[in-house]
């Protein structure tokens, strides 16, 4: 039983942000109203026909009634079909929109969420919305429309029965709230303990390889048996309480139908009501409670769906799409008192420097001193908490990320490589680059031996850490040959031998671009025009 957030049955953000939801709710209400009207008409037809047989001596007119009934039932079947179909279309539309928005947010502000959680969210997570749309929302709509219309129909036919229903229907949420209220603390406490026990199995299985290495795996089976027994006892204890609300729901709904039947029956005996009306009321009474009961059945689907939407919005909200239109000039890059902190933790102490065109500046400082943070702020991946980065007075916030980064060719500490070939990865900088040029930049990056069609697997499988870095550098050099003019290199020569390192340093110089290089290596620091200390003087 997932813990419920304070939000209502429909997440307002799903309504405002996923347009398909609004359409679906609108169409759903229409279909729900039509269903309610058909239910009423069907009950009226049945009541009339059945009551007519008390005096009937022939099957006069029955055929007409049966045809009408068939039409009504086909209409209900059509509405069922339509609701299922609409639900799917809406779920699919919302899922697609959220998938797109999540990915766009990830690409706008990369590096926030671990890839594994993102994959789960994008696949199973969002699939939680299927249940929400196909089961929960349609039922919710029916639970509002059907009791309202059917209740009104009963009221017109027989206000006494309507009164019984009008009293009992509000009792359902009232009693359920009371039960939820009085048992909440107990359920929550048990649930926590039970969750811990339930995770024991997952923990043991995940730890099996480790246990085996220490010769302890088989011996743990006995412990597992004990935890499983305890887990079952606890779970049953929780269920005994949490099924209570379902019990009340069913008791109230069936008991109300029984009371309606009994009172109507009694009044019938004493000529207080006619047979046809009594039948009409009896047929309709369960219809009032059915959709309300079904909403309870699909409660879990709503929780899953809302949790999925919530996780999606957390992802999407990380993105602050920049819409500025300022152009970025070709002047020096001015870093002024740039600083960043996460809460109280200072990730980057205030740092200032100016990078003139053609200049090579090395950033030096202790590990964790904020060098990579500075690069992230420089590239606009991170909004610093203080200070600024500007080019001719324009900062990353004044323009789109794409425009701002046009001048930069960036090599992160661990360059990310797409699955494909070495050439595919270098060509990220320019898909039109010819083989010869790709070979040239690879050689300039100190990797002349790498074949262009050398396969790169998932997570750069098939390349060593050094090769991976050099492919990243080659890619940056290719971008510099196009329209970029600032190399941003994070530890470009870590793990490279002295010869390769010399080639890289030489190529950076030869490219004529300005460069910001994070490095500890003396050879790199020596080749720089200036060394800027970031975070202490170690």
């Amino acid at each position: 039983m997932p813990e419920r957030t304070g939000r209502g049955p429909v997440d307002p953000r799903l309504l405002s942000r996923a347009r398909a939801t609004r359409f679906f709710l609108g169409a759903g209400v229409a279909a729900g109203t039509a269903t309610a009207l058909l239910v009423i008409y069907q009950a009226w037809l049945l009541a009339r026909t059945i009551s007519s047989f008390t005096q009937a001596t022939a099957l006069d007119g029955l055929t007409t009634t049966l045809v009408l009934l068939a039409v009504v039932l086909l209409g209900r079947a059509g509405l069922t079909w339509l609701t299922t179909w609409l639900a799917h279309r809406s779920a699919a539309a919302v899922k697609s929109q959220l998938r797109h928005d999540i990915m766009a947010a990830t690409l706008e502000a990369p590096g926030g969420t671990p890839s594994a959680s993102l994959v789960t969210l994008m696949t199973q997570g969002l699939d939680g919305l299927d249940g929400y749309f196909s089961k929960y929302l349609p039922q919710l709509v029916l639970a509002v429309t059907v009791p309202l219309f059917v209740g009104a129909a009963i009221l017109f036919a027989d206000w006494g029965s309507a009164a019984i229903i009008a009293v009992t229907v509000p009792l359902i949420p009232l009693f359920m709230a009371m039960i939820g209220w009085t048992t909440e603390a107990r359920v929550r406490r048990r649930y926590r303990y039970q969750t811990r026990l339930a995770r024991h199995f997952a923990d043991l299985v995940a730890g099996l390889p480790t246990l085996q290495v220490f010769g302890r795996a088989k011996a743990q089976a006995e412990g597992l048996r004990r935890t499983e027994d305890a887990n079952r006892t606890e779970t049953m204890g929780t269920l005994r309480i949490s099924f209570l609300s379902a019990l009340v729901l069913e008791l109230l709904s069936t008991l109300s139908v029984a009371i309606v039947a009994l009172t109507v029956g009694t009044r019938l005996v004493y000529y207080g009501i006619d047979f046809r009306t009594a039948l009409f009321v009896l047929i309709l009474a369960p219809e009032v409670y059915l959709p309300i009961r079904q909403v309870g059945v699909h409660y879990h689907d709503s929780a899953d769906g809302i949790a999925a939407a919530e996780a999606a919005f957390v992802e999407i909200d990380r993105m602050q799409a920049r819409t500025g239109t300022a152009a970025v000039g070709t002047g020096p890059i001015v870093v002024e008192e740039l600083t960043h902190s996460y809460g109280d933790v200072v990730a980057l102490p205030p740092t200032s420097f100016v990078l003139a065109p053609g200049e090579v500046v090395a950033l030096s400082g202790p590990s964790g001193g904020g060098k990579s943070t500075l690069l992230s702020a420089l590239l606009g991946f991170l909004t610093p908490t203080g200070g600024s980065v500007t080019v001719d007075g324009v900062g990353p916030a004044d323009t789109t990320g794409r425009t701002w980064r046009r001048r930069f060719a960036y090599v992160p500490q661990t360059p990310g490589l797409i699955a494909g070939t070495v050439a595919d990865n270098v060509r990220l900088a320019d898909p039109q680059a010819g083989d010869d040029e790709v070979r040239e930049v690879l050689a300039a990056a100190g990797a002349p031996e790498l074949e262009l069609d050398h396969l790169v697997g998932d997570e750069a499988e098939g390349l060593s850490a050094g090769e991976r870095r050099r492919v990243g550098i080659a890619r940056a050099l290719l971008r510099i040959r196009r329209d970029a003019d600032v190399l941003v290199l994070d530890e470009p020569t870590a793990g490279l031998d002295a010869d390769s390192e010399a080639i890289v340093v030489e190529s950076v110089r030869a490219s004529g671009a300005s460069a910001i290089v994070v490095s500890h290596r003396p050879a790199v620091l020596a080749a720089a025009d200036r060394v800027v200390q970031v975070g202490g003087d170690a």
Partner: protein
């Protein structure tokens, strides 16, 4: 011929104490609960029809008691059924978990290839609960109710009873089964698409920075949108089937009602049955079909559950590989490893390395290097005795301990985690082992999923302390510096080398810094 998951469920049912009794009890209770709601309508219809004849009020008293009884009992039956059914389902789940655990414990699981399977199987075994509570019970009880209700109607009208049974079978069994079969095929077609979407998302997220920095993000986003569109089309096919099945159920219910009016009306006119029974004949099918409405859902649950359980069956039926638990050797005064002309390979797979020879004595360290996939972890597993060598010779003297790069931290205290290395370690020994591993943490602190997480370096040190707690004589280290940043890795390696003393050290690595610290290098080639 039963399929894998059916055999598994039947098997578990037998292995659970009083399993069949619990199953029978919950089917009966579920049938009683559904039966009560049908009977409520049926008896109410009779009561009203009879009341319309303005009889003596006493003539209605039996029916009135029935109406009250069915009105109350439905909820009570349902509540009891839920509890009994869940008790059974949980017992079967526990039995399956134990069976899965003991089976997995018998097969050697070291190495990366098992990670996904272990995660998946944990979720998969939970499907047995769904099968019992959401599939078996609804269908079994529905069959009882269908037959029972039809049998009751036989007393009044054979024709009505026959039509009701036929429409109930269509709505409750045929349509759900059809929808399940067809949409399962459509769902199956969507599985590879889901896999591709997941791959694409993961890759894009991993290289997002680079894609953005090189303006390749629009293309990446377009690829994901494209996969999403394909997935949508595949899901649409499955939904169409479900929509038709749901509509079909309404049509079946309508057929039952119309037939009841037609046949019942004729019977009333001909005087075969009393007019007051017509309402019973017409309203009972409505109530029965309402009960059957949920079965399409049950059939869909089955699709998901059976795929999961089939995967569990696969795990349970797999031949054990290696010996599971590492053998516990005696301590030795002269710990050593002797490897001569060794060919290694995972049982059931092609050998990955051959002609491996080296000797490792006290005070020595040997680095095993080579490209990934060349069998470094397989060599470690062979030296540990977890899997047999394909050919050649491995002899070890002394207890061999292994430090994995991804050693699991259990969700419990630091002390209990250390005791994985030696379950009898005293509190003092635990503290000593932690000190030796350079991890001065509170032994009572909770770690893992439930507690604070440790940094990569701390986790590696905690795993190392297990080896010190267990007084292992020979240490096998698997990529000890992997995934650690340079300062952390260096600090760890410094401490490691100073704390192992004269224990022979076999290090599997591709990190040059680690290789540089070793006395000998064994190079594996593909």
């Amino acid at each position: 011929m039963r399929s894998g998951w059916q055999r598994l469920v039947a098997d578990l049912l037998r292995s659970v104490p009083r399993g069949r009794w619990l199953l029978a009890a919950s089917i009966v209770l579920a049938a009683l609960a559904s039966g009560a709601s049908i009977a409520l309508i049926g008896v109410s219809a009779w009561l009203i029809s009879k009341a319309a004849e303005h009889p003596n009020f006493l003539d209605l008293s039996v029916a009135a008691v029935g109406v009250r009884f069915f009105g109350i009992s439905r909820g009570v039956f349902r509540y009891t059924e839920r509890l009994v059914g869940h008790e059974l389902a949980l017992r079967m789940q526990s039995a399956l978990r134990l069976r899965t655990y003991t089976t997995l414990a018998r097969t050697t699981l070291m190495g990366k290839r098992h990670g996904d399977m272990l995660v998946r199987v944990v979720a998969d075994v939970e499907a047995v609960q769904d099968v019992v509570v959401r599939v078996v019970l609804p269908f079994a009880s529905a069959v009882v109710v269908m037959v029972g209700t039809s049998a009751m109607l036989v007393r009044f009208s054979l024709g009505n009873a026959a039509v009701l049974l036929a429409t109930a079978v269509v709505a409750g069994l045929v349509l759900p089964a059809w929808a399940q079969r067809v949409s399962r095929d459509a769902d199956a077609a969507a599985i590879p698409l889901r896999g591709r979407l997941a791959d694409q998302v993961r890759q894009t997220a991993l290289v997002a920075v680079d894609l953005v920095a090189y303006d390749a993000d629009t293309a990446a986003l377009a690829r994901i949108d494209d996969l999403d569109a394909q997935l949508r089309a595949a899901e649409r096919r499955a939904t169409a089937v479900r929509a038709w099945a749901a509509a079909g159920q309404v049509v079946a219910a309508g057929t039952a009602v119309i037939a009841a009016l037609w046949i019942g009306g004729a019977a009333v006119v001909s005087g075969a049955i009393a007019p007051r029974l017509l309402a019973v004949l017409v309203l009972t099918p409505l109530a029965l079909h309402e009960v059957l409405g949920g079965l399409a859902q049950a059939a869909q649950t089955l699709t998901r559950a059976q795929t999961a359980l089939d995967r569990v069956v696969e795990v349970l039926d797999a031949e054990p590989v290696g010996r599971g638990d590492a053998p516990l050797a005696d301590a030795s005064e002269h710990p050593a490893v002797h490897v001569a002309d060794l060919t290694i390979g995972w049982p059931g797979f092609a050998p990955v390395g051959s002609g491996i020879s080296f000797d490792l004595a006290a005070g020595e360290s040997v680095a095993v290097v080579g490209p990934s996939g060349v069998g470094k972890t397989t060599l470690a597993a062979t030296v540990l005795g977890l899997i047999p060598p394909v050919s050649g010779e491995v002899t070890t003297s002394g207890r061999v301990g292994y430090l994995a790069q991804d050693a699991h931290l259990f969700a419990t205290t630091i002390a209990e985690n250390v005791r994985i290395g030696n379950k009898d370690a005293t509190d003092d020994e635990v503290v000593a082992a932690l000190d030796q591993a350079g991890l001065p943490l509170d032994p009572d602190r909770i770690v893992g999923e439930l507690g604070a997480t440790l940094s990569g370096g701390e986790a590696r040190r905690l795993a190392l302390s297990r080896l010190f707690a267990g007084s292992y004589d020979v240490l096998v280290l698997d990529e000890p510096s992997e995934h650690l940043d340079a300062p952390t890795a260096n600090a760890l390696l410094d401490d490691l080398w100073s704390s192992v003393g004269t224990r022979p050290l076999l290090v599997v690595t591709h990190d040059e810094r680690v290789v540089a610290r070793c006395d000998k290098v064994v190079r594996l080639t593909a």
